[in-house]
């Protein structure tokens, strides 16, 4: 990281915008890869300079996942498409209790994308990978015609090792299990919406985008009998709980008043007509653990910087019907349903 400058290595005076040729396989592409990507992501595996990365893995189960990132705006308060592409895939690995080790990085860039912005994204990827302790092991760059993309799209796949013997899976969710969340909800979605809609707040609402592998490792290493982990992304807390209820056949009951929504996020939701239960997050997860381990798990989560506000929000209350129930703020019960399409703002 220290051996490259913070200035864009492809001088703007040469190529202020990405050209089709930067993905064309010729000299320009070679220069882009060498000067920008190889410097930013430099590691022993990339230096093999092969068509494919060759990796030695310890003799254990591996976790393997992929995700694509098309967020707009590309830069938003609290992150950008680069940090999102690293953390999102790292978090998917972490949710099986794996230690994320290697990522692949596929970039689809629209012709005319500012070289300076590409550099910012690449730096952000490098920083996020360093923070999460993963290496970019292989990559690919394509440039598509102007108008055929939306600035930049990123795909990352990830490999991690599973070094525990836990059965972390929705199928392992049991009646009586406790549901713990690692903090407030709705920040990422509102940060994006506010940016798109040009909403101004006294303090900018920043995305909660963060790598969750470290906090999860702490739980695993403490010997908590984790039954299931799931990160809350698109569709928010509600969709995640509904997915888990549905794949485990469980009834899940949570208390609205225990779910923490920051005041500025709540305010933005009131203005936009959104329910924070359905708003996206990028640094939040729920841990489903036996009641006997709940306090221990909560304590470990609260001690981590990405879990200071961890709280028990409910429990698994049955296994006869897959359903999520919400005890409302005023004490009544209702269904917490999955969103049918995108959350659309109301008229009035």
């Amino acid at each position: 990281m220290k051996d490259f400058t913070l200035q864009c290595p492809i001088p703007i005076s040469d190529y202020p915008k990405v050209l089709l040729a930067h993905g064309g396989g010729g000299k320009l592409m070679h220069t882009l890869i060498q000067k920008m990507f190889a410097t930013a992501f430099s590691n022993d595996i990339l230096q093999q300079d092969h068509d494919s990365a060759q990796i030695n893995l310890p003799d254990s189960k591996i976790a393997f996942t992929t995700d694509s990132y098309v967020v707009q705006p590309i830069f938003f308060p609290g992150g950008d498409i680069g940090s999102l592409a690293v953390n999102g895939t790292v978090n998917d690995l972490a949710m099986s209790g794996a230690k994320p080790l290697y990522l692949s990085l596929g970039l689809i860039i629209e012709e005319g994308f500012a070289m300076e912005d590409l550099w910012k994204v690449v730096q952000s990827i490098a920083d996020a990978a360093k923070t999460a302790g993963v290496k970019i092991a292989t990559g690919d760059t394509k440039v598509v015609d102007k108008g055929k993309g939306d600035g930049i799209f990123i795909n990352t796949s990830g490999i991690g090792t599973i070094e525990h013997n836990l059965n972390i899976s929705p199928k392992n969710i049991k009646t009586g299990d406790v549901i713990i969340i690692n903090g407030d909800i709705g920040r990422h979605g509102i940060a994006i919406m506010a940016e798109r809609e040009g909403l101004e707040f006294e303090h900018k609402i920043e995305s909660d985008c963060a790598p969750l592998n470290d906090i999860v490792q702490n739980i695993v290493e403490a010997g908590v009998d984790i039954h299931c982990l799931r990160d809350l992304t698109r569709g928010g807390l509600s969709s995640t709980l509904n997915e888990l209820a549905s794949s485990s056949g469980s009834e899940i009951t949570i208390s609205e008043s225990l779910v923490y929504v920051r005041e500025d996020v709540q305010g933005a939701c009131e203005i936009l007509g959104f329910d924070p239960m359905y708003v996206a997050n990028e640094g939040k997860f729920i841990a489903i653990v036996p009641k006997a381990d709940a306090d221990k798990c909560l304590k470990i989560m609260k001690a981590h910087k990405y879990g200071y506000d961890s709280v028990i929000i409910g429990e698994v209350t049955g296994n006869t019907e897959p359903i999520v129930k919400l005890k409302s703020r005023i004490g009544t019960m209702r269904i917490l349903d999955m969103l049918s399409g995108e959350q659309l703002p109301r008229i009035c």
């Binding site: 703020r329 005023i330 049918s340 399409g341």
Partner: protein, 362 residues
């Protein structure tokens, strides 16, 4: 959160629930007019806190639900034209017309954009002089001032490539249509608080007098609604029929005069077709002659388009409060938020969608 949490306080909600139980001796049918209130009632389970005899009827106050099928068809027709940028509030995008909705048009290449304010559409018109920019002017009296302002601004600034597809509806004529129906069950109203922030509540005095119904202007938080119900039940039990204002922190009797003046300058009252209900005389807003050049229906030659409603959907009966969503055979089976037969299912404020989302299904 200040000014929100106070109105969602569980202790106060219980107290109001007890008060309502204490004064209720008979069965009463009360209609909450606005879809926002319906949503809050179902979301917070407010009806669970009421005595058995209090029946809440969900009124027609969801502008998305009552926008007629032919207006939706006009919107998709206009939006699919290559020279058009079609702007709409987000809620309207998923409302099914007789063949398509606006999201499908967008997927097929139409330039359909979601807006929070019609004034944003004016800006788009200025930035795209070679395109026709059309705003879907949907809503009750609440959104009328902003839509009127957009048209007025377009005229003042000489913007010619802007027009609105007017679908404005008015609350008091709908209330009167319900009250004058021979099947009417409604004995008291919670009037729509946000409509009254603009219009005040002078219009309700003749209605309350003529039909002998209490009308309580009511807000949207759980405690607002509970207090509104309390005030309404109290009047019903005392055989009184006054207009009262529960939502005094936002509404005064005269309403917002400058907003009303602007609305009257740009719009005039006209007949409007309500989805599921049919034509109600003097129940909508149409553009004044001075602003007729901004009428998208005329501009795109669609003024004559008429469309019949599908027979299966009973949203009209639901909107009049004669049936509940789960009384419909299609509810939760043939009709779901993913495949709505009628707009009461598609709009997040529609009674059917609210029941589907928060209640158990068949």
């Amino acid at each position: 959160m200040k000014f929100i949490d106070e109105y969602r306080d569980p202790e106060a909600a219980r107290r109001y629930s007890h008060l309502i139980h204490d004064i209720t001796t008979k069965k009463w049918n009360i209609m909450e007019v606005c879809g926002g209130q319906t949503h809050a009632i179902v979301k917070y389970g407010i009806d669970e806190l009421l005595p058995e005899g209090i029946n809440l009827i969900h009124g027609p106050g969801c502008p998305v639900c009552v926008t007629s099928l032919e207006l939706i068809d006009k919107s998709t027709e206009i939006a699919s034209r290559p020279d058009v940028i079609f702007c709409s509030f987000g809620d309207m995008l998923r409302v099914p017309g007789s063949r398509k909705d606006l999201l499908q048009i967008k997927a097929e290449g139409g330039d359909v954009r979601m807006m929070y304010s019609p004034l944003d559409a004016i800006k788009i018109a200025k930035d795209n002089p070679d395109k026709e920019v059309v705003f879907f002017a949907v809503g009750f009296e609440t959104t009328a001032p902003a839509n009127a302002m957009a048209v007025h601004q377009a005229k003042v600034q000489g913007i010619k490539n802007f027009s609105i597809l007017v679908s404005h509806v008015l609350v008091p004529p709908a209330m009167e249509a319900i009250l004058s129906s021979r099947q009417n069950l409604v004995q008291g109203f919670l009037a729509a608080g946000h409509v009254c922030t603009v219009m005040g509540y002078n219009e309700y005095f003749p209605l309350a007098e003529k039909y002998k119904v209490p009308i309580v202007v009511t807000g949207f938080e759980p405690l607002d609604i509970l207090q509104g119900i309390y005030m309404c039940v109290k009047q019903l039990e005392e055989n009184s029929h006054e207009v009262e204002n529960q939502y005094a922190r936002a509404v005064n009797r005269e309403g917002n005069k400058p907003a009303q003046e602007l609305v009257n300058k740009v719009f005039k009252i006209g007949t409007r077709k309500w989805r599921g209900i049919g034509e109600i005389p003097d129940s909508g807003l149409i553009l004044q002659e001075d602003y007729i050049e901004y009428d998208a229906s005329l501009k795109f030659g669609l003024a004559e388009l008429t469309v019949d409603e599908p027979k299966e959907c009973i949203s009209g009966i639901i909107l009049q409060g004669l049936k509940k969503p789960h009384d419909c055979d299609a509810f939760g089976t043939k009709c779901t938020p993913e495949h709505p037969l009628g707009a009461t299912m598609v709009s997040s404020e529609g009674a059917c969608a609210a029941y589907y989302r928060y209640r158990s299904r068949k």
